[in-house]
Each structure stands twice: as C-alpha cells, then as structure tokens.
C-alpha cells in the first residue's frame, strides 16, 4: 500500500537536512518514529509525550480523537514533534511519501524553533523525556501503593489540572524563593529614600503576587503528604514545560510552514509527490472562516516580514519574539485587511454573537489587541496568590482585565482549590463591575 520504504525516507531526509543547513537553520537531531494511526492517536492524546503520566483525561481525549477520526471529522495531524534533544517526531505508516516529505521539512522548522527561540531556553530539552518518564513512574507508583491508590492520586491530579494554567507565564525567569525575595526587599527598604516602601510589610507571605498557584500550594500547605506535594510538583513542571509552546503557537507553526515551503521548493520533487504536497500545503494554510488558523496567520506574518525585510529578519524574529510581541510588532493594517480579520462577542441581550469590529479603517488596532488577548495563555484568566493570612486562609485574586469569569466554571475550580488547600480559601474577582467573592 505504501508508496515508500525506509530507504526512501533516509535518502530524502539527507536532502532535506542539507537544504535546512543551507537556509542557516540550527536544529536538534530528529528521531522519527514510524507508527500506525492508533499509536498516532495515542501520541496525540498524551500531548506527544511518549512517557506521559496516566490520567483519565487522556483516555477521554483518545476516545474523542478516535471517534472523530473514524467519523471523518478530523484528519490526523501529519506532524507531531516534541521539544526535546533529540527531537522526537512521528510519521504515520498510512501516509503517502508526499506527506512524509512535507512533515519532515516541517519538523526541521519546528526543531529549529525549539532550539533557537528564547522562550524555550529553560525547557532543558536534553532531559525532557527522562523527566516525563520519571514523573510517570512516580505517579504509577503512587497509584499502585496500597496506602494511596488510584482514587486519591486521581483526586489530586484532577484538582491540579484545574489550575494548571495558573503558573508563571514568563518562561525563562526562575521563580524566586521566599528568602531571596525577602533579602531583596530588605535591601530595597534600607535604601529607600523616596518613602515608597514605607508601609511595606516584610513579614507577609508572599511578598509579591505569586502567579504560581501550584508552586505556592506545594510550598506552603503543611498538611500535604510528600507524595501529594510530588504530584503537584509534577503537574507544575509539566505546565512550565508546555508554556513556551503555548506562548509561541502561531510563530512556531508559521515558521515551520515557511521552512517546509522553502525546502520543498528546492527539493526538486517528482510530479507524483509535488501534487500531493501542494494539496496538503494548501490545506494546512487555508484560512478558517470565522476563526484564526495559527498556521495561516503565522505563515502570513513571516512572509510579510520576509517581503519587507528579508529572510534574515525572519530568523531574528523567530529567535526573539513570542506570539504576543510578534503580532504587536508585525501584524499591520495591510495584513489585517488582507486576512479580513474581525472581532466578535456574545451579545447577552439577543443571544447572538455579533461582530464588533471589522478590518479596513481604524478598527484594525482594536482587532489586533483583541487577537492578542486570545492567543495562547492570554485566553486563560490570571489568578494569583495575594496573601496567606495568619489563620491559614489562602487569599486569591483574579487579575481582571475587563473580561469577566465564567462563574460556574470558577465555582468548580474554587472547590478544587479547596481540596488542595484545606485551611480555607478566599477568592475575589469582578463580575459586572462589582467585586465578587467566593
């Protein structure tokens, strides 16, 4: 059935790598695993990690992906690659050679992005696989421990997953320990001439807003057992590992598309491959009506940069930006108009979604800012630890940016936080311009 052999893959890979080098790319070596569609679904369900820990939610996504695939609603991705050194990528047995060629060129782009983008500098790519493996083993051990058991572990995992996006969103900056912070503020206070810190309480915990809920709970909840702290730690580390990817989705995909396009152009493809390639390529970058296709948007912006400033400028951008700064800097009026972007919102009065701004004219700035609010983690509300009260109550606050929380969901999450922090939790947000306390 397959129109390719292992030898084909190796031969073409050599050419692809050569072209990648000519483009001046620098990527981790890639280990391709050839797998069938069932395994592919497995990899997708477990966020690509071959050694991910167990949790029912992955079983759920497995079933969902499989159903959708069987119903033809979703094609399986032609590419899946992990930020590790070497990078692990999957090729699906069922795919034709033209798809593999595109995938392999695409993966070179991704791997180059992982290695060069500054957001990824702290992800410790060489040890990622082992870290996940070890975490998976520990979780398994706790589940099999007769004194703990799967139900208890699951309970903690469920609760942790509810606040897994509540971690620091600036990758690459190490979380300061409390004593370091205290030292820093003591210094600041002693040199304080302006009186700005006159009322600063050096004894309070935390000294600064702590955006890492999981980390804070792990550090300060005295009632947790060691295994519970470890589970929290695992979820926290997991989140921190994926944050750079969430922050660069558009760039990362755009870059990979740009690269595979360049490589494929130079590859001198036989006609039978060329047609397959063109078809898939167009499918990947087709705009999704009413939504934003990250592949499309990222690719368009990179092309825009290349047209204006050349490929070297693209390379600099892929190193130094994240989606937010990338869009702010490069998504201009022309591009907005070309993509015909628009903003929309749910209108509570009539129950419809209505368009609030359209491109062409002054609206584009608003649209750009609305877009930024929705990319990556910006679509997840920010909640931080404000204070740990003397009586043990944990005071949390939502950093309100104009968007109100979904209260029902927030209620659920609140009860999950209570599970992790039994000494009492206070949580405040703003709902329709009024303070709302849980």
């Amino acid at each position: 059935m397959a129109d390719w052999s292992m030898k084909d893959l190796q031969e073409w890979d050599e050419k692809i790598c050569k072209l990648g080098e000519e483009l001046g790319l620098d990527w981790y070596p890639i280990d391709y695993e050839i797998c069938d569609y069932k395994e592919m679904i497995g990899h997708m369900a477990y966020t690509g990690m071959p050694t991910h820990y167990r949790h029912w939610s992955f079983g759920k996504s497995f079933d969902r992906i499989q159903t959708e695939y069987n119903l033809g609603m979703q094609g399986l991705p032609y590419e899946m690659i992990i930020n590790s050194d070497p990078s692990i990528a999957y090729l699906m047995t069922e795919n034709p050679m033209s798809t593999h060629l595109l995938t392999m060129s695409h993966c070179v782009g991704h791997s180059d992005f992982f290695k060069n983008n500054r957001m990824f500098s702290e992800t410790d790519a060489p040890n990622v696989i082992d870290r996940f493996k070890s975490a998976g083993k520990r979780i398994k051990k706790y589940m099999e421990d007769p004194n703990i058991g799967i139900d208890k572990v699951e309970k903690i995992l469920d609760a942790c997953h509810a606040i897994r996006y509540q971690v620091s969103r600036t990758p690459g900056i190490k979380r300061k320990s409390h004593s370091d912070l205290k030292e820093y503020y003591r210094e600041l206070l002693s040199n304080d001439k302006t009186g700005k810190y006159a009322n600063f309480d050096l004894e309070k915990i935390p000294l600064e807003k702590d955006y890492n809920l999981l980390g804070f709970i792990k550090d300060y909840n005295r009632f947790l057992e060691d295994w519970e702290k470890d589970v929290i730690h695992i979820v926290e580390q997991n989140s921190l590992y994926f944050i750079p990817q969430a922050k660069t989705k558009i760039m990362n995909e755009g870059w990979a598309v740009l690269i595979h396009e360049k490589i494929m152009k130079e590859l001198d493809l036989p006609t039978e491959y060329r047609l397959g390639f063109i078809r898939l390529h167009n499918q990947v970058i087709r705009p999704h009506l009413g939504r934003v296709n990250p592949y499309h948007l990222g690719y368009k912006i990179f092309r825009h940069i290349e047209d204006k400033y050349g490929f070297d400028a693209c390379k600099i951008a892929r190193e130094s930006h994240n989606d937010e700064t990338f869009i702010k800097k490069y998504l201009d009026e022309d591009l907005c108009n070309e993509l015909n972007l628009f903003s929309f919102a749910f209108n509570r009065r009539d129950g419809y979604h209505r368009i609030t701004d359209v491109s062409g004219g002054e609206g584009w700035r608003t649209i750009r800012d609305d877009l930024i609010k929705n990319i990556g983690l910006n679509s997840a509300p920010v909640v931080y630890v404000k204070e740990l009260q003397k009586d043990g109550t944990l005071v949390l606050e939502h950093e309100h940016d104009g968007r109100d929380l979904d209260l029902a969901e927030a209620n659920r999450v609140f009860s999950f936080i209570n599970q992790l922090w039994s000494a009492g939790v206070k949580f405040t947000t703003i709902i329709e311009d009024e303070i709302w306390e849980f």
Partner: protein
C-alpha cells in the same frame, strides 16, 4: 541527520486511562438515570421506545472567561464581506440563571445518551434482585437461549445488518460533509468503508426458570390525587420493568381497587382513573382469591405489592391487616407502599382521617414488618429510587 525507526506496539498505552474514563461515564449515567426514572416521560413507555438521557460529561474544569460583550474573539473572513454588528452563528439559548444575576449556568458538557427502556433497565437493575426467591419444587429449569444482543462491527456475513450499516455510512458522510472533506455536490462517490459494517450479535443467555407471580395492587380511589397516583404508577412501573428485565417467567397480576377490586390488564392499570372510597381489604381479598385459584404457594414464588395513600376506611383496617398477615405467610415478600408525606401526629388537621391518626394502615402494619414484610413511604419523586434500592438492594440470590 535524522534517524528512523519503526515503532513496534507493545500495548495500547491509553487502554487503562480509557477504561478509567468510561468507568466515570458509566457512573455518571447511573447517577443521571436516577433523575430520569421519576420523570413523567418514561412512565408507561414500552420497552423498545428510546429514551434520551442527559448525562453530565466528565469535564475537566479551569478558569475561563465567560461569554459577554467584553470577551471578544477574533476570526478571519478572507474573501467574504463582513460588517459591524453582523450576527454570526446560531442563537444560543440564554443560559438559565436567575433573572438579573450574572450567573452563567454551568458550562457543562452534556452528552445525551439514547437508550431503550431495556438497556436502561440493564443499568438500573444491575445490582438488584428479588429477595428471598426460593427455588420452588416444580418447574425449575435452567435454560440457555440465544438472544439478540446489540450490533457489532464484526461478525459473519449472514448476520450483516444492512440497516445499521447504512446508518453508519450516512453518519460518516454527514460528518465528512461537515468537516469539509467531502463535497456532496461533486460527483464523487462516497463508498462504504469497512468500519461501517455492523453485524447483529447474538449471545447465549442463561435463564432461571423460576416461577414467580407478582401482584400489583393499587388504590385508585378518589383520595388518590393525580400526583399520588403518578407516584404510585412510577413506582409500579419501575417495579414492572425490573421484574420483566430480571426474570423470564414472571406472571404479573394487576389489581386496582376502590371499595371493590378488579383484575385489570397492564394498560388499564397504569392509565385508568376512577374515584370512590377505599377498602384495602377488597384488593387483598382479590389477591387471596387469585392465589387460591391459580398460584399454589408450593409451586410459585409470590410477591405482593400494595400501594395506596393510607386513607383507608377505618372500619376496614382490621380486616386489611388480617389479610396482610395471611399473605405474609404464603408470600415471599409483601410490600406495603404508602404515598404521601408522613402524617404529623402532633398537629391536628381538619382532615376527617386525622382523628384516626396513629390508627391508620401505616401504623397498623408496623407489627407485621419483618423479613418478608416491608413498608415504604413515597412522598416525593426522589423516594422512588431510594426505596427501590432499599427493597431490592439486598443480597443476590435466586
């Protein structure tokens, strides 16, 4: 230079997580069913009728922004005209919440599961059993029958279910159209796929041919208001489904009574409305007569379920108790079910019968209560399932 290796599957890594998830869904189904059993719509349905059961999905929660004017999203409409204020998408039902409150209803994932009453019974009654079912001397045989049991994606050709296969294909086609993979306007064929095939499945079923007869006795007098009757019917209906589901050879006798009793058929039993006074003894006497005529206690496991509102003619109480006592002796189980709230003895009400408070059937049957005499009170819908569990949740025998 990259490396290539063929990955050999050792095991399906997601298997345990998937079963864990399904386990959770099943639990959710069971929980949802409890709400469904007392719903009006299923009462009186036949076994084949499909019932939609809303099941709360097993969702992972996180902080999210709600849908409102300030939460703006961005889309692209390349090649299309869009204008400010334009409506997009379908109208979304205003989320139920109290008027004036911002509370958006739980953003819950809801599955709707469609199942027939038979399947529902499977879930519901999995752990329940008729208590004290003795293996009576006669007519006791174990029988193995082949019975149809659903459809499967594999099987032998002769059992191919064309209808089900077509349905699968249509489903896949619709999905493909929706996903934009297939365009019905083009002349492209949409062929069958191997995964569309469905075969009728048959499986051997073991049946204990224990003989049992169940008497349903219901008070249909004037004092049984519509809502009381509905509770009674719901209870009996559930009971009937349960027995039908669990035992292959159960005779069911329906008796409705006012001051006199009548043996009726199933349909009339569940739908008939009459009025008049109440003499529980008439119904019980009827049971006794029928047992004597048709169901000898030596050969039959007998169960009697009585259901009324307890407002019996006071003069009839003693006779009723006597009959209950008699039935208790020859029955595997007798159940006295009373509809309505617990009577508040401390408060004197205007009701004529309240003067006999403490002297009603409920109080009188107290001394009979034991291993094979149960009494159950149904005040609200929630009680139905609870008492049902209480009655049949015991040990598994038979």
């Amino acid at each position: 230079m990259s490396t290539f290796k063929e990955h050999k599957t050792i095991a399906d890594r997601a298997a345990s997580d998937r079963s864990r998830h399904r386990h959770k869904i099943e639990k959710a189904i069971k929980e949802s069913i409890k709400d469904v059993v007392s719903e009006e719509s299923i009462i009186g349905q036949s076994g084949k009728k499909k019932i939609r059961i809303p099941v709360r999905g097993i969702k992972e929660h996180s902080f999210v922004y709600g849908s409102n004017e300030n939460n703006k999203k961005v889309g692209s409409a390349q090649g299309k005209e869009v204008s400010k204020g334009q409506r997009i998408g379908h109208k979304r039902k205003q989320q139920q919440g109290q008027e004036g409150k911002p509370g958006d209803k739980p953003g819950e994932e809801k599955y709707e599961i469609e199942m027939s009453l038979e399947e529902l019974a499977e879930y519901l009654f999995a752990d329940l059993n008729l208590p004290e079912l003795e293996k009576k001397r006669f007519k006791f045989l174990t029988e193995e029958k082949m019975k149809r049991k659903g459809k499967r994606p594999y099987g032998i050709r002769p059992r191919l279910s064309k209808k089900e296969t077509i349905k699968q294909k249509i489903r896949r086609k619709k999905a493909a159209i929706k996903a934009g993979v297939y365009n019905p306007d083009e002349d492209e064929r949409f062929p069958f796929h191997e995964s569309d095939l469905r075969y009728k499945h048959i499986a051997p079923v073991q049946k204990d041919n224990t003989t049992a007869v169940i008497f349903f006795v219901m008070d249909v007098s004037g004092s049984m208001t519509k809502s009381k009757k509905f509770l009674a019917r719901s209870f009996f209906f559930l009971l009937y489904q349960f027995l039908n589901h669990r035992y292959s050879s159960v005779d069911v006798v329906f008796i409705s009574h006012t001051t006199e009793a009548q043996e009726v058929d199933e349909e009339r039993f569940f739908t008939r409305a009459t009025g008049g006074g109440t003499m529980a003894s008439s119904g019980l006497q009827k049971v006794k007569d029928i047992i004597e005529k048709r169901y000898h206690p030596n050969n039959w496991n007998i169960y009697t379920f009585y259901c009324g509102d307890g407002e019996n003619w006071p003069s009839d109480n003693d006779e009723s108790i006597e009959l209950f006592e008699y039935l208790k002796e020859i029955n595997q189980m007798v159940c006295y079910t009373e509809i309505g709230p617990e009577k508040d003895l401390s408060r004197d009400s205007l009701s004529f019968f309240s003067t006999f408070a403490g002297d009603g059937l409920w109080e009188k049957v107290f001394r009979l209560v034991g291993k094979n005499f149960k009494k159950v009170r149904l005040s609200t819908h929630d009680d139905i399932w609870k008492s049902f569990k209480k009655l049949f949740g015991g040990r598994r025998d038979g």
